[in-house]
Symmetry: C2
Subunit: 401 residues, 2 copies
């Protein structure tokens, strides 16, 4: 009998723990093939350093709560594995795979995590290991290649859309208004920022700036001025990834994947508007809550996350490896999708950005974008609260010796 | 037959429109005494400038949606009325009161708005007008005097508590963590920031700084360092009103009430921690959503807001004037309160801050604070969504000629 291990990787989403829930529930149905359901703590670090827990020992009630638990319950990492399969880190991984009799490895993550998935799959082939490595897609940035959309993006979009709606209503309460610059996550892809285009006329951002289009500071000032003079206030949505900086570039920090650490663009643009246009401004940020805020989970997103968690386990048992599960859109209305397996090598390190056809111009999305997004944020889930606080799973995390 | 006018004033809350809903529903029950239900647009400005709508002409379905509508549906203002009752602005008010046959005036606001309430009440007496002026309390800052708590504070606290919970869970996912500085609204009173103390041990902020206590930057650094070394990350909640600034004071702007415009304290503290302790940081802000985000409305808060809106109308009809409705706490568990009328002159321009007895030390609250807060955030309301977007009321706003 062989064991499985589940790895969460990269930034959390609202449904990353829903996929884990699906995988655990499916694995329990196959107890004749899967002996133990292990979890790797802090992403692939747990597999490297033998920091592994037995998820089969957790209470069923807490497993149920995974569906409304923020963060990544197993812990996560941004560590990238080395290219060279003879690097000593791989020997540690192989040792732990053998020690714990692991055959099935599931990696739930985004672009960079699919790189880890790909490397473990290559390792398995080159070293002749009997492994099944399956990727479970996830990223609020929605920038994973091949798949129609990424798990977690719909719920993040739903949070951002509802938050911008509330912010725009609030902004409209005052007769002498401000320029509100709302900063939204998204490094190279503007999907999440663009999602605010789905709002109705009275609360839709007046201007949406995404990294797919070059950012022209002078044009930006002109556009903000025009809106402000017409409406008395302006709502501007900007992706954190647009290229604009008044700070010296020496201040930019990089994470271990070599990405610049971003943030603060709203503050910079507000200062710019105040200095150049002499208009009152307010920077708005949704911080970490935009990627994981259970009360705004999209039911479509959660259902898909659970399904893909289950399918990952079934696929591994059927002998698949080096694959990620992708979503193919069949129809927008009614919303129909298919799940398929795709070679993870075709996905890792690629990026999906918003295509031209989904943009109306450099500050607005087209109807095809709205048709794409509309079905994804539908449906609410019932959240369990205790004394006003949304409950979160608390695991015992019993280490495997 | 006489008419009533309803005024929303100051910053919006999640339940400011629930009080309006209550007042409208109650007024409709008394159609033999109240002919028209008017709304003043943009706070008292509408009454000054004859910018008044007939709320009786709105669809019942939209009136129902007021209970889940962010912002202040009638528009609001921060304008302060002059001290001198012979100022020409009062003549404009008197003209419009006479023109529209208004007898009942309701002002829904915080400290500064109760000042408006008080001045209109004084005006009424001095000029011998036949007016009934009643205040409906509201402010997320919870700093209104005399009342046990202010409408809107419980829902804001519920949003902040749940958001800090999600943020803390997210922060705990990484093995090498950061210092998270969460900035929460509150000018002179730390109620909203302190509310995060209600969280369970694993997500409660490690350090809570409120304006009631002097802020010592060196002690702050020591405390942050101690937590970071012990846990590997730190969650710090700070009120926007604490006194700390690395910026030149020349940058501070003031609103028309003479209050300094605040914000950006989290960014400043993060820079300070990076420079002095060389630790990675992340500033977290919940922006405008913390004061009005319908999905996190506290049912207790909404029920009280509706009740007080209704009671304001009944009190005016019974002949009361120059009063605000206050809440008296009878018991924490079970939660029992009474509603009373209090002279608005005893409330206007006073501020209620957190008493010493509710603080354990300068970074933690006492059990008496938690007993006070616990019942206020209980209960969820059912939000109506359409295609993933929480619905908001849309009024026709038909002007009264």
């Amino acid at each position: 009998m062989k064991n499985m291990i589940y790895i969460q990787s990269g930034g959390p989403t609202s449904v990353i723990n829903s996929s884990l829930y699906g995988a655990i529930q499916e694995a329990k149905l196959h107890s004749s093939q899967i002996d133990h359901i292990y979890g790797s703590l802090y992403g692939v670090e747990g597999l490297i350093e033998d920091n592994i827990i037995d998820l089969g020992l957790e209470d069923e009630e807490q497993i149920e709560l995974l569906k409304q638990t923020a963060g990544a319950i197993l812990g996560t990492t941004r560590r990238k594995l080395p290219r060279n399969v003879h690097d000593p880190v791989y020997q540690k991984i192989i040792d732990n795979i053998e020690k714990h009799n692991i055959k099935y490895i599931f990696i739930n993550g985004g672009n960079d995590s699919m790189d880890t998935c790909h490397k473990l799959s290559v390792l398995s082939q080159e070293m002749g290991l009997d492994l099944r490595v399956i990727g479970v897609p996830k990223t609020i940035d929605n920038d994973l290649a091949v798949t129609d959309h990424s798990l977690g993006f719909p719920s993040a979009a739903k949070f951002v859309i509802n938050s911008v709606n509330s912010t725009a209503i609030d902004a409209g309460c005052y007769r002498s208004g401000k320029v509100y610059v709302v900063e939204i996550m998204g490094r190279n892809a503007g999907w999440l920022t663009a999602s605010t285009d789905l709002l109705p006329d009275d609360t839709r951002p007046d201007l949406i700036y995404i990294p797919e289009r070059p950012f022209d500071p002078n044009l930006f000032l002109e556009e903000v001025k025009e809106v402000y003079e017409r409406k008395g206030y302006a709502i501007v949505a900007v992706s954190e990834g647009i290229e604009f900086s008044r700070k010296s570039m020496g201040n930019v920090r990089f994470d271990s994947f070599g990405h610049a650490q971003l943030g603060g663009i709203a503050d910079e643009l507000c200062e710019y508007v105040e200095d150049e246009l002499n208009l009152p401004t307010r920077a708005v940020e949704f911080s970490l809550t935009q990627r994981a805020f259970p009360p705004l989970i999209s039911k479509v997103d959660q259902d898909e996350a659970i399904y893909i968690g289950r399918m990952a386990v079934r696929s591994a048992l059927e002998g698949e490896t080096g694959k990620m599960i992708v979503i193919k859109r069949i129809s927008d209305e009614p919303y129909v999708i298919e799940y398929r397996l795709e070679d993870v090598g075709n996905i890792a390190n690629h990026e999906s950005i918003i295509p031209e056809s989904m943009m109306l111009d450099h500050t607005r999305m087209s109807e095809s974008f709205r048709r794409y997004l509309r079905p994804l944020i539908r449906g609410e889930i019932e959240i369990k609260y205790k004394d006003g606080l949304a409950l979160h799973a608390s695991l015992k995390k019993i280490k495997v010796k």
